[in-house]
């Protein structure tokens, strides 16, 4: 087999793995959008915040130490203990639930019934706020996150492909784990929304706010729950990306990666987020591999957007989105 095709296959596989990670972020968007009609731009920053909090708790950092030191002239940074990663994840989750409550209580309660675009801009404001808040709380230096996930070259795949093509594929263990976790997460979410009382209530709210309200579903509770679930998804995405490339500001930019995924897959569809993620992941890696060198490289920055843009012109609701019907 010619080298180009083998390289292409490796790129394809890596693209699939990257796509899973994109889908993971996109999933958080879809959940909130379906249940509350809010397009949550802050999802990426939530992932960053979750990862920052997780690292902070694990390392026993003093929250706001930077600020306190600056104001009081003291000099302390750590409590001096280390928390086990599992416990830290649970604590972080508690923080994310608290955040969900705060967001719902302080912001979106006051914006009920506003136009979607106003809500969207409010989440941009929220993203900025949380970015500053996270940095003040935990400091803005690049942190290493290690919760014990395997990392590095996967030996088995390397060996098998080497025997087949005389060229070993480089597939990161972390990506494989991420794929499984994403699959599990989607499974859990599907079961949750299909078979539990709260999940059904969530779908009812997504379908029709007023009808759900009239049969006794508490909108307030559902929205807090949805934001918490989205916070959980953000935490998972934050752990994956944080382990991969360190916890730093650029982590919040994964939201920008997830947006074209959403446009492609449709804002309201969980399968759409996954299929869209895979298409974008594979598409941008293959494009960079095939066309990138001809035009100067780094096409990953815009390829997804341009693809989604062209796609939307022909199908404005995305692959799996609900058809947009407009009335006067």
């Amino acid at each position: 087999m010619p080298d180009q095709i083998i390289f292409g296959m490796e790129v394809f596989l890596n693209g699939l793995m990257a796509g899973v990670l994109y889908a993971l972020v996109a999933l958080g968007f879809v959940l909130i959008y379906k249940a509350s009609g809010i397009f949550n731009y802050a999802q990426g920053v939530m992932a960053l915040f979750a990862a920052l909090t997780l690292v902070g708790i694990m390392d026993g950092q003093v929250p706001f130490s930077h600020l306190i030191n600056a104001v009081l002239g003291t000099d302390f940074h750590h409590f001096g203990w280390h928390v086990h990663s599992l416990l830290a994840i649970i604590l972080t989750m508690a923080v994310m639930v608290l955040l969900a409550w705060g967001v719902q209580r302080i912001i979106f309660r006051h914006l009920v019934g506003q136009e979607p675009i106003i809500l969207f801009m409010a989440t941009i404001g929220l993203a900025y706020f949380m970015e500053g808040f996270g940095d003040i709380m935990w400091g803005s230096d690049i942190k290493k996150l290690d919760v014990g996930l395997p990392q590095g070259l996967n030996g088995v795949i390397d060996e098998v492909t080497y025997n087949m093509f005389n060229y070993g594929f480089f597939i990161d263990n972390l990506d494989i784990v991420a794929t499984f976790i994403a699959a599990a997460l989607v499974g859990v979410l599907v079961i949750f929304s299909q078979y539990t009382k709260q999940g059904r209530a969530m779908r009812a709210v997504a379908d029709d706010h007023q009808a759900a309200l009239s049969v006794g579903v508490s909108l307030n509770f559902i929205w807090i729950m949805v934001w918490s679930v989205a916070g959980f998804v953000a935490l998972v995405a934050g752990i994956m990306w944080g382990t991969k490339s360190g916890v730093q500001f650029s982590l919040s930019l994964i939201a920008l990666k997830a947006l074209p995924v959403l446009m492609l897959g449709g804002f309201t569809s969980i399968p759409g987020a996954i299929v869209g993620g895979l298409i974008i992941g594979v598409g941008e890696k293959l494009f960079e591999f095939a066309i990138g060198p001809l035009v100067g490289g780094a096409t990953e920055n815009w390829f997804a957007y341009v693809l989604a843009l062209i796609f939307l012109v022909f199908r404005p609701q995305g692959l799996f989105g609900e058809k947009i019907i407009e009335r006067v």
Partner: protein, 358 residues
């Protein structure tokens, strides 16, 4: 007492339709203009110019441009940074290709080129709406920045990948390059600001502006009563990008002088200008100025009080600024969706009766 309409009789339609129908407003406007043109240039120094006046003036033009698109026509755009980059690079290419032509025309033409690019990226708005469109404009942002970063023709094959403005003069005074007198740069930008504001103000209250607002308020209904969505949306994109392009060109030539595209015109710039019009007031020319002034002054004030005054580290002040800006966006969206402009309007309404309660 002094701010009132009583006794200010209008006898012609022209009188009735002027921009500032209330006498006091009109004189205040003339006073501000006179102050800006005739007083400030005598006192301006490098610090005031670079820290406050130039960014304020240039962002005002960008904010007016974006406000036309978002505030008047209802098409949310996150591609402002990319369009500013188009203006900057167009100005750069023109300046280096035609060194004999006045920079004044370069900047105008750069605006025209940006308008054309804006129309190209605005075409999908006919099919895509709401935040689908907002996300789609991000395509323009990322693609344009990448283009200027990677295609050497745009930066004249310079080794650093940066572009820097050569020295150009107007009436014998340098406006770009290293030896610019503060008052020249200030007046040069001020001229563009005043013309842009007047043009924008008159466009938005004429038939074009009413078409934009009809599209904003409900596009299908507008279409039914005879507004052509194609021309309305495309013209909004064109006019908006024209202003944004001019501001990008000024930002590069007069303010920064040398530009690295990802840094100067990245997505944060898009958000910054969007925040200006949200805080200032969507659908208001005055709001564009107010928002630009606010977001230019806020970091300067924070830096002066926190870093210089209290001795905090710079990064802490920067993070705090993020929090404050984000928080303010939310507060304004909740409490006063029409921004500072609306607060100003309410104040004026109160002033008309003051000191009487009714």
């Amino acid at each position: 007492m002094f701010y009132r309409e009583a006794g200010d009789f209008k006898t012609t339609y022209v009188d009735d339709n002027q921009t500032f129908p209330i006498k006091f407003d009109r004189y205040r406007y003339y006073a501000v203009l006179a102050f800006a043109v005739a007083v400030v240039p005598f006192f301006i120094n490098d610090y005031w110019l670079n820290a406050i006046f130039l960014p304020f003036l240039i962002y005002s033009i960008a904010a007016i441009g974006l406000n036309i698109l978002v505030g008047y026509c209802g098409q949310v755009s996150l591609g402002t940074g990319g369009f500013m980059a188009v203006g900057a690079y167009a100005a750069y290419k023109l300046m280096t290709a035609f060194p004999d032509v006045s920079i004044f025309f370069h900047i105008i033409i750069a605006g025209g080129i940006t308008a054309f690019v804006g129309v190209l990226f605005g075409l999908p708005s006919l099919r895509i709406k709401g935040f689908y469109l907002a996300v789609a404009t991000l395509a323009a942002q990322f693609f344009l920045v990448w283009l200027f970063n990677r295609v050497p023709w745009f930066y004249n094959y310079s080794a650093s990948g940066q572009i820097s403005a050569p020295e150009r003069t107007i009436f014998g005074h340098a406006v770009t390059g290293a030896n610019v007198a503060p008052w020249v740069a200030y007046l040069f930008c001020l001229f563009f600001v005043i013309v842009s504001a007047i043009v924008a103000r008159n466009l938005t209250r004429g038939s074009v502006g009413r078409k934009w607002m009809a599209i904003r308020d409900m596009d299908i209904a507008a279409e039914i009563i005879g507004v052509n969505p194609l021309t309305a949306k495309i013209s909004a994109f064109a006019v908006s990008s024209f202003f944004v392009g001019i501001s990008g060109a000024l930002f590069f030539t007069v303010y920064l002088g040398a530009v690295e595209v990802g840094e100067a015109f990245g997505i944060t710039k898009s958000f910054l200008v969007l925040f200006m019009i949200i805080i200032g007031g969507l659908g208001s020319i005055f709001g564009s100025f107010a928002g630009a002034a606010f977001l230019v002054l806020l970091p300067v004030l924070l830096k002066n009080t926190l870093v210089t005054g209290l001795g905090w580290p710079t990064d802490l002040a920067a993070h705090l600024e993020f929090m404050i800006v984000g928080g303010l966006i939310i507060v304004f969206l909740i409490a006063e969706p029409h921004g500072i402009a609306q607060l100003w309007r309410v104040t004026k309404e109160k002033l008309r009766l003051w000191p009487f309660p009714h």
